[in-house]
């Protein structure tokens, strides 16, 4: 295993990079102008946070790779994002459900990271919390509005929840990287946040009149990089095409 702090920074940065890119795919094609702008702003925040996390990852690694190098010159098996982040956008409802499930975890985890023993990790978390608070507010409102909306919007949101819920569990799995972070006082055990997350999810889903699937089965393999879903590779061919076609091009 490489340096656990490097792994940790890649996990944080790859989550925001992959989800940020996914969300940016809506730019220009969202259902209404306000949503288009909101999605583009969310994507922008996430990509900004990516620069901070992957920038730190590169410093920690010390091999001269900066955030751009890490983002554009790695292949699927080197990515450390959770599987939830790479799931395709689907319809607007599925995109917003994915966002809600991710934001809920993201904000809790970032708040815990604000008291990290690592000064830069704590600073990035402090900065990100302000932005992610807005993301969660919006995704929560949208999930409630569409869940408790028309028959069609309700059905679509329930379908999105059923489709995405099996990707929730991975965010709370502890492994040896997490253990090393806990020991160094850098980050909490992901599993320690599960109860709070579940309580939050239950409250919002009740208001949205949506039913959480009973089966707690969780797909995994994203944060370790062992097994990504087929979707990430397809996404990278688009995200990285310029650097693949013209390596090290600058402008």
């Amino acid at each position: 295993m490489s340096d656990p702090l490097f792994e940790f920074c890649c996990r944080m940065g790859d989550n925001t990079l992959v989800l940020g890119h996914r969300v940016s795919e809506w730019c220009g094609v969202a259902p209404v102008l306000e949503e288009d702008i909101a999605l583009a702003n969310t994507a922008l925040d996430l990509i900004g946070q990516t620069q901070l996390w992957l920038g730190l990852a590169g410093e920690v690694e010390g091999k001269g790779r900066d955030a751009d190098k890490l983002a554009f010159h790695r292949d699927v098996w080197d990515f450390r994002n959770v599987l939830l982040a790479e799931q395709p956008n689907g319809d607007f409802g599925q995109t917003m459900m994915r966002q809600f499930l991710f934001d809920s975890w993201h904000l809790m985890y970032l708040k815990a990271l604000m008291s990290s023993s690592h000064e830069q990790v704590a600073a990035i978390a402090e900065k990100s919390v302000k932005e992610v608070t807005y993301h969660l507010e919006r995704s929560t409102d949208t999930v409630i509005g569409l869940g408790d909306g028309t028959t069609e919007s309700h059905e679509r949101m329930q379908k999105a929840l059923d489709r995405l819920y099996p990707f929730v569990g991975e965010m709370f799995i502890d492994d040896e990287v997490d253990a090393a972070m806990v020991e160094a006082g850098i980050a909490p055990d992901p599993s320690s946040l599960r109860a709070e997350y579940d309580a939050h999810l239950d409250t919002v889903l009740a208001e949205a009149t949506l039913t959480k699937p009973e089966d707690d089965f969780a797909h995994k393999g994203g944060k370790t990089g062992v097994r990504h879903t087929e979707h990430l590779g397809h996404m990278l061919t688009q995200m990285q095409w310029l650097q693949r076609a013209y390596p090290d091009a600058t402008w």
């Binding site: 922008l44 402090e126 302000k130 807005y134």
Partner: protein, 155 residues
């Protein structure tokens, strides 16, 4: 460049004349993103904090600072990025807030929404979206004069 180096106060004055690239009615010092100006030996060190981590204006701001200070003859310049404490709209100067309102952008309020419509001053306003034309703004609308307007988000 004269032989002696300019004072810190003079440098702050120069920086207060550099407009924000996205909202040119306010300056970088009005925005509260210049956190420190100091001489480290012969090098002038300017510490800047980003408003939003993905704000595309950040690189332009750094370029504008550099251009302005070089224009005043500063040769050895270093720009430092500081993330913590994270930028807050509390650092907007009172003068900056007044300039925003005059420009048609409702300044941030602790209550989380605009005090009134920046155009007709009516307090009957409603939110269209938490997000707007730049990361730092939200979209609101006045239900009296019916004009949509930007609100500078409180963070």
């Amino acid at each position: 460049m004269v032989g002696e180096r300019p004072s810190i106060e003079t440098v702050w004055e120069w920086l207060s004349a550099v407009p924000d690239p996205e909202i040119p009615v306010i300056s970088l010092t009005d925005l509260g993103i210049i956190r420190d100006v100091a001489w480290q030996g012969d090098t002038l060190e300017v510490t800047v904090t980003p408003t939003y981590s993905g704000c595309p204006a950040t690189t332009i701001i750094n370029l504008d600072i550099e251009t302005a200070l070089r224009g005043h003859g500063i040769e050895n310049l270093s720009l430092k990025r500081q993330l913590s404490p994270a930028w807050t709209t509390d650092w907007l100067t009172e003068e900056g807030k007044a300039k925003l309102e005059e420009y048609g952008i409702a300044p941030p309020q602790p209550a989380g929404g605009p005090k009134h419509c920046p155009l007709c001053k009516s307090e009957n306003v409603e939110r269209i979206s938490q997000f707007g034309s730049t990361p730092c703004k939200a979209q609101w609308r006045c239900t009296d004069c019916l004009e949509p307007f930007d609100y500078f988000k409180c963070i």
